[in-house]
């Protein structure tokens, strides 16, 4: 057991820190989705030009090919520099790209990977459907072979950046007669294909970064199928396993900073009795101390996950634990923040604005990418080997 960064690690950290602090955009990411996409692309291009694109991608695919320790350092410094989240670049960099590397053809790789890395192409995900959320394998969007095309009809939902993306990783049912995990295809869908129509969904924050997408006999070349025509489930599972990589570390580091900002806020703002600072109130202080301890635990869980990652190439089911912990903790932090803000917490202006936005936005953290209920099932069944239930 040890926790030490080597001199080489520290030198690398210095290099990364210097570059990120000098180059990370300082202006706020635009709220408008089209503007935001341009912003994301410019930042990705900047990283690409400086040789920092695809830090976890192998060098043979044009990535930086950093080992796990260096990825960790990069992600920590990324958060410390307040560098913007990849936004509309996220799916390409963290899902579609790695999936193409694992399962794509040479042609698919040669065409798409450079475009993802350089920020030229934005990707979105087309997995969930209105009737297929947690039970993804029940999806019904059809893909029917017609000559050298797949004709797609149906509907997807919760597609982040669906209205601004260029390509989609799309999961469709090609063989309705096969067992439900066997009759699926994972296909690259060009979002400009006739018959593909995204419609933005307004969320409880007021913004609309995701869409539902309708497919009306959209013709997708068979050459865009990744893996076999009925191998989509295994290709999709490869995609989902990348979510447990290091890509979420900046959010964890950021949450630690958020708690420190909240403690500072509680020292400035008047507390519940109207006389002293909020942090002088025993209940407020108790909650803040509890949150400090919990973010410390979350960071240590990340280091435990990295420790496991350094010993074994395949991520274990423990990854579900940190996602679960993060999502619920994020909500507790912002719940506390609104209580600290007191009456000010009803405003969406001034110093309350960001806290209120994140409070509202944070509801997604126990739903997106697997609800906390599904994550608890995974932990129960795969970590603790409890029997699978009928539901």
């Amino acid at each position: 057991m040890e926790f030490r960064f080597s001199k080489e690690d520290d030198r690398f950290r210095d290099e990364v820190r210097t570059w990120l602090r000098a180059n990370a955009p300082r202006e706020k990411r635009p709220h408008d989705e089209k503007q935001a996409r341009l912003f994301d692309q410019a930042w990705q291009r900047q990283q690409f030009d400086a040789g920092w694109a695809g830090i976890a991608w192998p060098a043979e695919f044009g990535g930086r090919g950093l080992d796990l320790m260096r990825q960790l350092i990069w992600q920590e410094e990324y958060a410390h520099a307040s560098a913007p989240a990849p936004g509309s670049m996220f799916v390409g960099l963290n899902h579609a790209g790695p999936t193409l590397m694992a399962r794509g053809t040479r042609e698919q790789q040669a065409f798409h990977l450079p475009r993802i890395l350089s920020g030229e192409a934005a990707w979105c995900q087309g997995f969930s459907e209105p009737s297929s959320g947690s039970d993804l394998a029940s999806l019904r969007t059809r893909g029917v072979v017609d000559g050298d095309h797949l004709v797609v009809t149906g509907q997807k939902i919760w597609t982040s950046y669906g209205d601004v993306a260029d390509y989609q990783e799309l999961l469709v049912r090609t063989d309705p007669g096969a067992p439900r995990h066997k009759g699926l295809a994972w296909v690259i869908c060009d979002m400009r294909t006739p018959g593909v129509e995204p419609r933005p969904i307004r969320t409880m924050t007021g913004s609309s970064h995701f869409s539902e997408v309708f497919y009306n006999e959209a013709r997708i070349p068979l050459a865009n199928v990744v893996g076999g025509l009925t191998d989509g489930w295994s290709v999709a599972m490869a995609t989902l396993s990348f979510e447990r990589g290091t890509a979420m570390i900046p959010h964890q580091v950021e949450l630690q900073r958020t708690v420190e900002e909240l403690i500072a806020l509680a020292g400035e703002i008047t507390g519940p009795n109207g006389k002293r600072a909020a942090i002088e109130d025993d209940e407020v202080a108790s909650r803040l101390a509890g949150l400090r301890a919990e973010v410390a635990a979350m960071r240590a869980m990340t280091y435990a996950a990295v420790s496991r990652g350094l010993r074994s190439a395949t991520p274990g089911p423990e990854g579900a634990m940190i996602s679960l912990y993060f999502g619920e903790l994020f909500q507790r932090v912002h719940d506390a923040a609104l209580d600290v803000l007191g009456g000010e917490g009803v405003e969406r202006v001034g110093r309350a604005e960001d806290w209120v936005f994140r409070h509202l936005d944070g509801f997604k953290h126990t739903i997106a990418g697997g609800t906390t209920e599904i994550r608890r099932n995974i932990i129960g069944e795969r970590v603790l080997s409890l029997p699978r239930g009928s539901a």
Partner: protein, 333 residues
């Protein structure tokens, strides 16, 4: 290198703790009215456990805080008492104070210690015995009191009926050993060891609940197939993962004298204490009516967690210390 997992040697050390404790101190022993853990101490001493974290020059094994938390986690799992922790820490305080004879007595098992926890105008002594010295500490110093200093005592019943509890009034200046001004923070060392014991309690409760959930049948299936039970068990597992990861991280912070050691140790105590309390209570709930009976070990974990987490100011004292501690500012080591 970042590695919160034990290396091969540490795994072997951990396995030897686990095997020895499972054989000598199964939790079921606590159900016997005449059980006395003190009879086990001389065997533990032969294995070097009371001097595990002391240097060889001090008569110890020379291991670090990392191996100590591995030991205390197993001690917690088998519900060794506060006197075990007091003997480990007492040897450390005595060695630090230059009382090498006393340290040697504690390391060799010739003498044991009871734990003296501050109460309202007196101390609670856990595990008092005719030959046991008393060990206590605060943020400034650690101290060992002689047998005579514990004479003024009243034996009372404890929430955890497997623990021997007394009220003692300590005479002011009668210490066998007191650490000096430049000594380490014994309150932090103690809280690290407590954290590891809490993790052991939390894990044992988790394992007991999960094992029961796999075998107990209702409505024609194991109750662990129901999400109400499965999710309870999953939460217990997450609490263990959080508590152990942070306890190891805190042990390394303390060992390496990092500036965030107070922050990490205080956090570890809070997360591990909550895991021990929550998991031991949930374990009773998973066991249903059986969990509430005296013949089921589930209650033993819950009582022990309740008592151990109440000592030295409980959660409130650690929260106050955490909020006053400087947060980590840089991952650099």
């Amino acid at each position: 290198m970042i590695d919160l997992l034990p290396n091969a040697e540490q795994e072997a050390v951990r396995d030897s703790f686990a095997a020895a404790l499972a054989a000598a101190a199964p939790v079921s022993r606590l159900r016997k009215p005449d059980n006395d853990d003190r009879t086990l101490f001389s065997d533990f001493a032969k294995l070097g456990w009371f001097g595990l974290g002391l240097s060889e020059a001090q008569g110890g094994v020379g291991y670090s805080a990392a191996e100590e938390v591995l030991m205390m986690r197993e001690a917690g799992r088998q519900l060794l008492g506060p006197d075990f922790l007091a003997t480990v820490l007492g040897a450390r305080i005595a060695a630090s104070a230059g009382a090498s004879d006393l340290a040697a007595e504690l390391v060799s098992g010739a003498r044991a210690a009871c734990l003296l926890a501050p109460a309202d105008g007196f101390h609670h002594a856990f595990g008092i015995a005719s030959d046991a010295v008393g060990v206590t500490w605060d943020a400034n110093a650690g101290a060992v009191f002689g047998v005579d200093a514990l004479a003024q005592r009243e034996d009372i019943a404890c929430l955890d009926d497997s623990l021997k509890l007394s009220r003692v009034t300590l005479p002011a200046a009668q210490t066998l050993a007191r650490s000096g001004a430049n000594a380490e923070r014994f309150d932090l060392r103690a809280d690290l060891l407590f954290s590891a014991m809490f993790v052991g309690i939390a894990e044992a409760a988790r394992d007991m609940a999960v094992a029961y959930a796999k075998t107990r049948q209702q409505f024609g299936q194991p109750i662990g197939a129901f999400q109400a039970i499965k999710h309870t068990c999953a939460d217990m597992a997450v609490q263990c993962e959080a508590a152990w990861s942070l306890t190891v991280f805190a042990a390394l912070a303390l060992e390496d004298k990092r500036p965030d050691a107070t922050f990490q140790v205080s956090s570890a105590w809070l997360i591990a204490a909550r895991a021990a309390k929550n998991n031991s209570r949930r374990n009773i709930q998973v066991h249903g009516g059986m969990g509430y009976t005296a013949e089921c070990d589930a209650q033993a974990y819950a009582k022990r967690a309740q008592v151990m987490t109440a000592l030295f100011g409980g959660e409130r004292a650690r929260k106050a210390r955490l909020l006053a501690a400087p947060p980590p500012t840089d991952e650099r080591t």
